[in-house]
Symmetry: C2
Subunit: 189 residues, 2 copies
């Protein structure tokens, strides 16, 4: 908690989400977001590298969760089972969020190509980190990258399903179900 007016960063995130949802991403300027949060444009860019990043606040934490899940999986488990453990950890963390907020956020992201681009980039980053963790478990290439990327595919699809509202079950359940579906699909149908 800073010594200034509390939590500029958090207020910027809320302001951005509200404005992106109301006017759309490109119709919103960084200066407008800053004004709504009661700070300067310069302060916005000190907290977030660019206009998109403001929507991806907790992504570092999430990556940590996933990697930790992979690392802590029993050593005798196969590569993809370890990734599945990482996905469980991710689901546990994301499932804590208020579902309406997640829905709102996902809707904003889905509505804009640049934001979708950033989301894919985040998933690719997670996959890279997961692949590194798999290497430390003795998994080679290209198996590590394939397992990691396949896992991120499951994460994306499950999150879409959960946040888009067609599926009312909780996130960990949807995640496990999606993973089973991927296994079935690649097995040969």
């Amino acid at each position: 908690m800073g010594r200034w007016q509390s939590d500029s960063r958090g207020r910027l995130q809320e302001a951005a989400l509200a404005l992106y949802a109301a006017r759309g991403f490109d119709q919103t300027t960084a200066a407008e977001i800053a004004a709504r949060a009661g700070v300067t444009e310069r302060t916005f860019f000190r907290h977030f590298a660019d206009k998109r990043e403001v929507l991806f606040g907790g992504s570092d934490l999430l990556q940590e969760q996933i990697v930790t899940g992979v690392v802590q999986a029993p050593g005798e488990w196969g590569a993809f089972d370890a990734v599945a453990a990482g996905l469980d950890a991710a689901a546990a963390m994301l499932g804590e969020l208020r579902r309406d907020l997640s829905r709102r956020r996902q809707a904003v992201i889905a509505a804009n190509p640049e934001l979708r681009e950033r989301e894919m980039a985040k998933l690719a980053d997670y996959a890279t980190a997961v692949a590194v963790a798999l290497h430390q478990r003795g998994v080679g290439e290209p198996q590590a990258s394939l397992a990691a990327l396949a896992g991120m595919t499951v994460l994306r699809v499950a999150l879409d399903l959960w946040a888009s509202g067609s599926d009312e079950r909780d996130l960990p359940t949807v995640m496990r179900e999606s993973l089973a579906e991927l296994r079935a699909v690649t097995a040969g149908d």
Copy 2:
């Protein structure tokens, strides 16, 4: 073949690749690329939506190839087998390119986060198109999205392997091998 000095677009692509490789992506301005190609900055942005897009020239064609491959796969094949047919088509097309050029291009992309972001976005677009094609074959959700995204994972890994040079076999072979590896990894190790 335009009626003007031939192929501004092509010259812009070459100029961009050369400059990005030499100075790096952010150290290169659109004006510099345009100057090297003998046109104006404005012309650059008429041919390419943004600075990154100039490196992804044939992506529309590639998407067409992939989708066509999926659509033309025998109707009784499963979802992932149809995707595999699309990957064969992609490998056939990409394999035609001069390998040193592909290597050069991949190296430039790998060196810059924004370009990697765009590459992931392209793959996501292909996946969306493939999922639509799968729907028309009667595949439901989330199976279609999972199969399509898993396929794009294989494409990415195989392309990296091929272009990064550690694997000297031809692209269709590397692609099929990677697909087999994914099947093995998700099957349970």
